[in-house]
């Protein structure tokens, strides 16, 4: 399922959880794994100096510097590399998200694995900063393949996934996310939870809605899930449809925790926005921030249909 994987890393402890998943996937699917590091931005134009993406220091960029970075990555991931067999290590200079996307295109990657932040954050600090790293947001927005975001330790990961949560807002991009979730669930024999959170606050805009109306909307959403997704699942019967009302990101997190979700799959934009113009939707951002399991952001059908 994942023939070519790119693991975008800063080569620091903030990517350790993502590294665990990336190497795990390679082992399980015998995938071609490329360990990719974006070194930083040229200080100006075609200048040989780059601003290192980790330290912020200016460095003279030549082949020796690139080799030194690769050597550093080899040392940092020595244990995983020793067990993983052949892994390509690539670096390039430029804006991190552009370089990661370029690499994904170049290697025709089926999956990008990355951490959510470039530095370790305290929970309290995250509310005042960009909740999810800007590189991650931009990669998730532009990638044609699924992007697996790993921000918390995951001890089981894809070897033992048994519950995949697919959160939908019924958008076009959500259908791509569904295809990914469904294919993965089928491949590894996991239970697929098709989940929709009815955002009542955005529906009633100040009006009081009765319990009967809420129940009717829930029934309608269930029917929509059956019609749009379940009808595409042939005879696959290891699934569950659930619709809860409330704040979408709170409900998805609650649902994932209650069902012991191993992976949350979502598309990453708001319903009305074209994927080309969308930045990470606030629901996904909040889910990535708090989810104890990895979150896959799928926005386009290219690698999943």
């Amino acid at each position: 399922m994942f023939e070519k994987i790119i693991f975008a890393t800063t080569g620091t402890p903030t990517c350790d959880h993502a590294a665990h998943v990336a190497f795990d996937l390679k082992k399980k699917y015998n995938s071609e794994l490329t360990l990719f590091h974006s070194m930083g931005m040229p200080s100006r134009g075609f200048s040989p100096f780059i601003k290192d993406s980790r330290t912020g220091e200016n460095e003279y960029m030549d082949n020796d510097y690139a080799d030194w970075i690769k050597e550093e990555l080899k040392t940092y991931y020595a244990k995983q590399l020793a067990e993983a067999g052949t892994v390509a290590i690539e670096t390039s200079a430029g804006e991190s998200h552009r370089e990661i996307l370029r690499a994904a295109r170049k290697y025709d990657a089926d999956l990008i694995v990355m951490g959510a932040h470039s530095r370790e954050e305290e929970a309290g600090a995250t509310r005042y900063r960009s909740v999810v790293g800007s590189t991650m947001q931009r990669v998730a927005k532009g990638a044609k393949c699924p992007v697996l975001i790993v921000s918390r330790p995951c001890t089981t990961c894809l070897w033992y996934f048994s519950n995949i949560i697919f959160g939908t807002d019924f958008s076009k991009a959500s259908y791509s996310a569904f295809l990914f979730a469904y294919q993965l669930a089928k491949e590894i024999g996991a239970k697929l939870h098709l989940f929709h959170a009815l955002d009542i606050s955005s529906i009633h805009s100040g009006k009081t809605i009765s319990q009967d109306e809420i129940e009717a909307m829930i029934a309608e959403a269930r029917q929509r899930i059956e019609k749009t997704y379940v009808s595409q699942m042939d005879d696959y019967d290891n699934y569950e449809v659930e619709v809860w009302e409330g704040v979408p990101y709170v409900e998805i997190l609650k649902f994932a925790r209650e069902r012991n979700g191993d992976l949350i799959v979502m598309s990453h934009h708001t319903r009305e926005v074209d994927p080309e113009d969308a930045v990470l939707g606030s629901t996904v951002e909040q889910v990535v921030l708090r989810a104890a399991c990895p979150v896959a952001s799928v926005n386009r059908p290219d690698k999943v249909s």
Partner: protein, 178 residues
């Protein structure tokens, strides 16, 4: 004056009198914790003043967990208590200079402060809860760290605790299947 005290049983006291049903007026007041206050006292407070549950979308979920938890003995051995503190970070480089202020809820005891996000609520509810200091960190050529005594208002106290709790996750499930 302008202080609201949280009792062990979750009652708020203002100027020596219990707060009846107007907790919102106390949100801006400096909070003081009476002796014996535990994390459970915070949930008892929200139970007594349900309006406060609307401060954060995660609170109803955590109230449910609190109600299901045993009435006592909800502790863990890895730290002695939980400390609510504040951090002010001055970041001079890289990027635009900026100042960030945030709160933390951490386990404190044996060694350095420890993360509590990997503990279920039922192992934290009866841990003693204290107000800590303000950490002032300056990121420059060197990283300087100072600690000062400070005050917290009731709003930042509730909001900071629930924000931190919203990061609690499901490692239990992962560990079971490992």
């Amino acid at each position: 004056m302008n202080t609201v005290a949280l009792k062990r049983n979750g009652t708020l006291f203002c100027d020596g009198k219990p707060v009846a049903d107007e907790p919102l007026m106390c949100l801006g007041m400096q909070v003081a914790l009476e002796e014996g206050v535990r994390l459970r006292s915070v949930f008892q407070m929200i139970e007594k003043y349900p309006l406060l549950a609307r401060l954060n979308p995660f609170l109803p979920t955590y109230m449910e967990q609190y109600r299901k938890a045993p009435a006592e003995g909800c502790t863990c051995d890895d730290f002695d208590g939980i400390v609510f503190s504040k951090t002010v970070e001055m970041i001079g480089y890289p990027g635009e200079p900026r100042l960030e202020i945030y709160s933390s809820l951490k386990g404190e005891g044996h060694d350095s402060p420890s993360e509590i996000r990997n503990y279920e609520l039922e192992h934290l509810l009866d841990m003693p809860l204290q107000l800590g200091k303000l950490r002032h960190i300056v990121f420059g050529d060197r990283v300087e760290e100072f600690a000062f005594g400070t005050a917290f208002n009731l709003f930042e106290f509730i909001d900071g605790i629930v924000w931190e709790l919203s990061f609690h996750g499901t490692l239990r499930a992962c560990a079971l299947r490992r």
